[in-house]
Symmetry: C2
Subunit: 402 residues, 2 copies
């Protein structure tokens, strides 16, 4: 149960025929009719300048901080499709709005799949009305929606957290897809999150920004930032009818923000765990950088290095590559002060090899999860990036589109 | 024949025992005794802050623009080795100087191989004097030196060009190693180039900077910038005894610069062709960027993309990934104006799919060399980057150090 865990939401998934495989490829998440009018929404989108039409349309529809439905398709990214692509994205909103009895400007749209191919509109023209008529509350609807947004993912990703404000338990639930083109600046990833709290649009936007920074933005699979990356959150207010919406600051805002961050983190880790072809889940933590920005640069350089990724694949604790990436990252480092540890065991101190128990380090490298800690001893900047190994499987998945 | 193609140089290679395989691992390139005093030198070094000790020592020895010998070892990078590593690099220069009867400050030093392991000095203490006593002019010495600097390379890289000044034919010859950690900011690559022209140190430095910009800096294999990258050039003046050294500007300078650039380009292409595990040699050319800097950003983003590299491996002309990388590169682009061609056939125009002959495009993708042209239609900035596909072989080569 994911996007329907929170009260006041319905969802569903359908095989419309966009995917030749016959798999589910169309999803809708919507506020239940009683909640639609008051539902607030916020989004974080790709920074890629080759922005896909659905991103352009969703941004436009989010300007007023209100939206009550999201329509999503997999199997085609509707990217690099020009003006016809913009019309198609708009049309997806209109069809959804007609099916739900709401305004098209209150519908957000996401697409994921191959770039550069016009969206096949006839399955969509038939599919959206059928799906809109069959949306369900509870697990059935949410689980189907989570499956319908997958592309090369092998499993659906769902997460849920609760928080309490003035004795009322509220829920945040979400779904995501993404298994490559993952980078700290996001990627071919989509996530839709819902909550039954009532949240002021500005507070929703602020909380989402923070949650994305500490989750999806700390994930790097191949450093590729996609044309379609989108993270959306909708707040129905169904659990606090009549209550005052949560605004920025204060304990309710922090409780909500924490729950939202927890859901985003869980989804991000699930995405890394399902990364195309990956056999390892690695986490590099840089401490003691001159600034946070430097720490991020350094952590991303290590995580994004094909050589480091290959070492992880080969279970080789070759810290020389980590040191080299720190040095080439653009972050300030004093190589003579760098300390590097694999799974908590220091293998490099003061920039040179440190005596260590090689058998224990080797045993740690054989685990599925690997932790690399880098202490720069220059300041207080810290950052973490989650990444994976580079494997035959990644190449197999990406060498051909068909 | 490479570093000994130009008059006034001797060279040699020796198996000292640094490599357990028993392969050649020690090389010296030196001006012949008659030319040593007047030989000028220049270098371009890694920008990695985790700079290897031999780079620090060579930079120091190059300050006066004079050096007459280079000693190089493979099998150990003498990187991340701290103060002992600096003493070892200095000691390599002293041993070479003693063998050749010159000052240690006129010796440059390069190391390549694994990072973080102290240099084994006993084979070096014995090997350098033996090698210095046996240096040869002509092909024998140069070819052995070119082999002795290799690590994961499968073939040695040598190049040669001539130019004419006032009726005198002069030669530029060089050798290089490098098959991974190649990035536009250079990498685990070493190159030594010699010429029998007499060249003023400032002019030598200027010509080398230009040549490196249009060759090694346009090469990207895995985006990794190493701790040891070094390109050196020595000018003996042996072909123009008594002539005035070539200074900056003027036709002699341009003739020399062109020959130097030709040698560097040839070595760079040989390095790309021998890139670890690569089955394809690709070249992305970005035109019409707002600035040259933007063109470089865009070309490097395409070349450095694991997804694009996988597409090339799979012979898949998936231009959507190229467009996505252009959009995420940080360069200014207007996606609606982008044109992308594979091997001269336009597959994307105005940012959307362009009708094209898919059979001809597919046939082109099956070739070993692939050209990707991106026209941004925003200005006059241009840049080229040479890269390779991402293959099982790359992973095999880099997943373990032993």
């Amino acid at each position: 149960m994911s996007v329907t865990a929170a009260q006041g939401f319905v969802a569903g998934g359908l095989a419309s025929g966009i995917k030749e495989s016959g798999d589910l490829d169309l999803a809708i998440v919507a506020a239940a009719p009683a909640n639609a009018r008051l539902t607030t929404a916020a989004g974080v989108f790709t920074t890629n300048l080759a922005t896909a039409p659905p991103v352009l349309v969703s941004r436009e529809h989010l300007r007023d901080g209100h939206a009550s439905a999201v329509v999503l398709n997999s199997g085609n990214a509707n990217a690099a499709t020009g003006a016809p692509g913009r019309r198609d994205a708009q049309r997806m909103c209109e069809l959804t709005a007609a099916g739900l009895g709401i305004d098209a400007t209150d519908v957000l749209v996401c697409s994921t799949g191959l770039i550069g191919i016009p969206l096949p509109m006839s399955p969509i023209e038939a599919g959206i009305p059928a799906l809109a008529a069959a949306l369900e509350a509870g697990p059935t609807g949410g689980d189907a929606a989570a499956v319908a947004i997958l592309t090369t993912d092998t499993i659906s990703k769902e997460a849920c957290a609760t928080f309490e404000v003035d004795g009322v338990i509220m829920t945040v639930g979400g779904m995501a897809k993404g298994a490559a083109m993952l980078s700290p600046a996001m990627a071919t990833m989509l996530a839709v999150i819902t909550t039954d709290a009532a949240v002021d649009p500005r507070a929703l936007h602020a909380a989402l920004g923070g949650a994305v920074d500490s989750s999806f933005h700390e994930l790097l699979i191949d450093g590729c930032t996609s044309t379609n990356d989108t993270v959306l959150v909708l707040a129905s207010g169904a659990a606090m009818v009549g209550g005052r919406p949560i605004g920025i600051g204060g304990s309710a805002f922090h409780a909500f923000s924490d729950a939202l961050a927890e859901v985003c983190s869980s989804l991000a880790v699930q995405m890394a765990g399902d990364a195309e072809g990956a056999s390892k889940l690695a986490r590099v933590h840089v401490r003691g950088a001159r600034t946070t920005a430097d720490a991020r640069l350094a952590a991303r350089a290590v995580a994004g290095s094909q050589l480091v990724q290959c070492s992880i694949n080969g279970e080789d604790p070759y810290w020389g590559r980590v040191l080299s990436e720190l040095g080439a990252s653009g972050a300030a480092i004093d190589p003579d002060r760098v300390e590097i540890a694999y799974n908590g065991i220091v293998v490099c101190r003061d920039g040179v090899a440190a005596a260590h128990d090689a058998v224990t380090v080797a045993a740690g490298m054989a685990e599925r999860e690997i932790a690399i800690d880098c202490e720069l001893h220059l300041g207080r900047g810290e950052a973490t990036v989650v990444f994976t190994d580079l494997s035959y499987g990644y190449i197999d998945e990406n060498r051909a589109t068909s």
